[in-house]
């Protein structure tokens, strides 16, 4: 009997949602643990980094790495796990495209810190706190992870074998990938796993747009009573579905919320936000520059909307940081 494959799970800069997805496998996790050994999973069990460091290179068969690279700890662990794993899977939107943390790249680090430590409404008053690299504890001076001025995707700093998008990746797709991985059925390296062909619109059941439909005003979902049957765009709600890869099973749409784009750009799209701007920009109804500005002003945060999950992976991001 061959040894059971070894699995590792790690979370870098992320919310933990990806970890929850794995726990959502529920009883199926038992099947997993029968077929494989989970050797590292800090979110669920007590493992130390030193345990990983003690492993041989490539000892881990598959590492599921979620979260973006925000600080030196994320980066160090990414390199370490890469070294110890045969197969590295970039798991979830943050690791894949930067995700929500990636939106921090719209700002410089100082203004982010100001917001967090000085001007957040929940603060009574600012104490001018800033993250430090070293801090003095009773036990002595401790090194703290360094905050980077840029959020990166996992693939930006290390080689990644597979990508698995989603915020979080939906549980059925996770199970499919687990099964495939355990059965050794993974496709060619570099592939995107746990996804379906084409875009969200392809699987969306809603009534599509009519000829000559134009958007006169952008609205946010809470501002209107949304029609369950009609395409969100025709209701003036920005939906990222056209530029977003299918695979999620459309839980948002079924919950009567527009697609937010977490599965990343569909095949053939180079830059998700720019493509969305190209598709949705073509729907704006105006021939008057002033009116156009008024319509654009109804969109509070275009970059945050079109690049909600993909900013750190965008061309604009490259232009800014390279």
């Amino acid at each position: 009997m061959t040894a059971k494959p070894k699995l590792a799970f790690y979370w870098a800069a992320s919310c933990g949602g990806c970890e929850v997805t794995i726990t959502e496998l529920g009883m199926r996790l038992v099947d997993v643990s029968e077929q494989a050994d989970i050797v590292f999973w800090p979110a669920a069990m007590d493992f130390k980094y030193d345990d990983v460091r003690a492993m041989k290179d490539k000892e881990i068969d598959i590492c599921f790495f979620n979260g973006a690279i925000r600080n030196s700890e994320n980066k160090e662990m990414a390199h370490l796990l890469r070294q110890k794993s045969k197969c590295m899977i970039s798991f979830g939107s943050c690791s894949h495209l930067g995700g929500i943390p990636g939106l921090a790249n719209l700002f410089d680090i100082e203004s982010l810190c100001q917001r967090v430590f000085d001007t957040t409404p929940s603060l009574d008053d600012s104490r001018g706190t800033r993250p430090q690299k070293q801090t003095l504890m009773p036990e002595g001076e401790v090194d703290l992870p360094e905050l980077y001025d840029q959020v990166k995707c996992l693939s930006d700093i290390t080689e990644v074998d597979y990508f698995m998008p989603g915020c979080p990746p939906v549980v059925d797709q996770v199970w499919k990938v687990f099964t495939a991985a355990l059965n050794g059925d993974l496709p060619a390296k570099g592939s995107i796993l746990g996804v379906d062909p084409k875009n969200v619109c392809d699987v969306c059941e809603r009534d599509k747009g009519e000829p000559s439909f134009r958007i006169k005003e952008f609205k946010r979902p809470h501002e209107v009573s949304l029609d369950q049957e009609k395409c969100f765009l025709t209701q003036g709600i920005i939906c990222s579905g056209p530029a977003t890869r299918a695979g999620c099973g459309t839980p948002c749409l079924q919950g009567n919320m527009p697609c937010r784009g977490c599965y990343g750009p569909a095949e053939g799209i180079i830059d998700q936000g720019a493509k969305l701007a190209s598709a949705i920009g073509a729907l704006i109804d105006t021939d008057d520059p002033e009116k156009l500005q008024v319509i654009l002003d109804t969109m509070t945060d275009p970059a945050g909307t079109f690049y909600r999950f993909g900013l750190a992976d965008s061309i604009m991001n490259k232009m800014k940081y390279e």
Binding site: N105, L106, D108, K198, N199, C201, D202, K208, G209, E210, P211, S212, F213, R214, C231, L233, T234, G241, P242, A243, A266, E267, G268, I269, I270, D271, G273, A274, K275, L276, A277, S278, A279, I280, G281, A282, L283, I284, T286, D287, D288, P289, L292, Q293, L296, M299, D301, P302, A303, G304, F306, Y307, I315, M316, N317, K318, M319, K320, E322
Partner: protein
């Protein structure tokens, strides 16, 4: 009280279609012909005045076969200029409607839809100024697949749908995604300072076209597009990313778009892109949209020179 008018002639038929009523007001002054750029740029036999004449003289077959019937893109520049206030494009549309009913088909090659890529998202249906695309359902592996199809008699080849299609499922010969991206950027060893996406209709004067073409390749690369509605902000970003310093999008002045609204589409897209670049604290001046009026002879050279002289790499401008 309405009086039904007897339809005896082809001219009567045209006049009975809404928009065709004023056919016989035409006194053949030729304003429409010279206001329009189709004869000058594309088709020497294109002549709205003559089409109206063919209709008035009941020369039905010739009217149906005339390129004018099929090539009018309803930009309505001639309507604004017509001293008889004839809505010429609607008269032509009336002739075209009769031609289609009589089984004639457009000689133009429409945009094509790749069924393998199309997701049936309906964006093309919404953006087309001519209502050419529509969605239909087709059986595919036992499922009904929703797909877009294009009415060849309606498509005017502006490419607005090509620019908007998220999956690159729609192509128009000459300006498919690959045909555009192969002209500059990552694939080219030495990129120019400036890439200019130039709408073929925005430069009325031949003199201006030759002026633009006189720039050396290492300074300005011209990408010809049928309409600025075709542009894709992705391509602009790719250009900058690949080391080109500036992107100029050159289209027609508001109200003068050859394809009804492509210039507005371009304005919307570029405005959105500008807004995002600003949010990203990047210099939005390196992507510029200019909209040139029919009377603005020589402006393109001024705009290109101005841009060349002020070009800065986007990163230098980070605040």
């Amino acid at each position: 009280m309405s009086h039904s008018i007897m339809i005896r002639t082809f001219a009567d038929e045209v006049k009975s279609i809404p928009g065709g009523e004023h056919l016989e007001l035409c006194y053949s002054c030729g304003t429409c012909v010279s206001k329009c750029m189709i004869q000058q740029k594309v088709e020497p036999d294109y002549n709205p005045r003559r089409l109206l004449r063919l209709a008035i003289m009941d020369l039905k077959d010739e009217a149906f076969k005339s390129p004018t019937t099929w090539m009018c893109s309803e930009c309505d520049l001639c309507y604004q200029a017509c001293p008889q206030e004839i809505h010429i494009s609607q008269v032509i549309a009336a002739v075209k409607k009769l031609a289609v009913e009589a089984g004639y088909t457009s000689p133009l090659t429409p945009v094509s839809v790749d069924e393998e890529l199309c997701s049936g998202c309906g964006i093309c249906v919404m953006v087309c100024p001519y209502e050419a695309p529509s969605l239909y359902e087709k059986e595919h592996n036992g499922d009904l697949d929703r797909l877009s199809e294009v009415d060849a008699n309606k498509c005017m080849r502006c490419g607005t749908c090509v620019g908007a299609c998220p999956l690159g499922a729609i192509a128009r010969e000459g300006v498919s995604n690959t045909e555009i991206t192969s002209q500059f950027g990552y694939v080219i060893p030495h990129n120019p300072l400036l890439v200019a996406f130039v709408c073929d209709w925005s430069l009325r004067e031949d003199a201006d076209v030759s002026l633009l073409e006189s720039y050396p390749e290492d300074q300005v690369k011209i990408v010809h597009i049928p309409c600025t509605g075709r542009i894709d902000p992705q391509h602009a970003l790719m250009a900058l990313d690949s080391g080109i310093n500036g992107v100029l999008v050159c289209g027609c002045k508001p109200g003068e778009c050859h394809f009804k609204r492509g210039n507005h589409v371009a304005k919307c897209k570029i405005s959105l892109l500008d807004a995002m670049l600003k949010q990203m604290q990047l210099n939005d001046k390196n992507i510029r949209l200019v909209q040139i009026g029919t009377q603005e002879r020589g402006r393109i050279k001024y705009e290109v020179d101005d841009m060349l002289s002020t070009l800065k790499a986007p990163k230098e401008a980070i605040a």
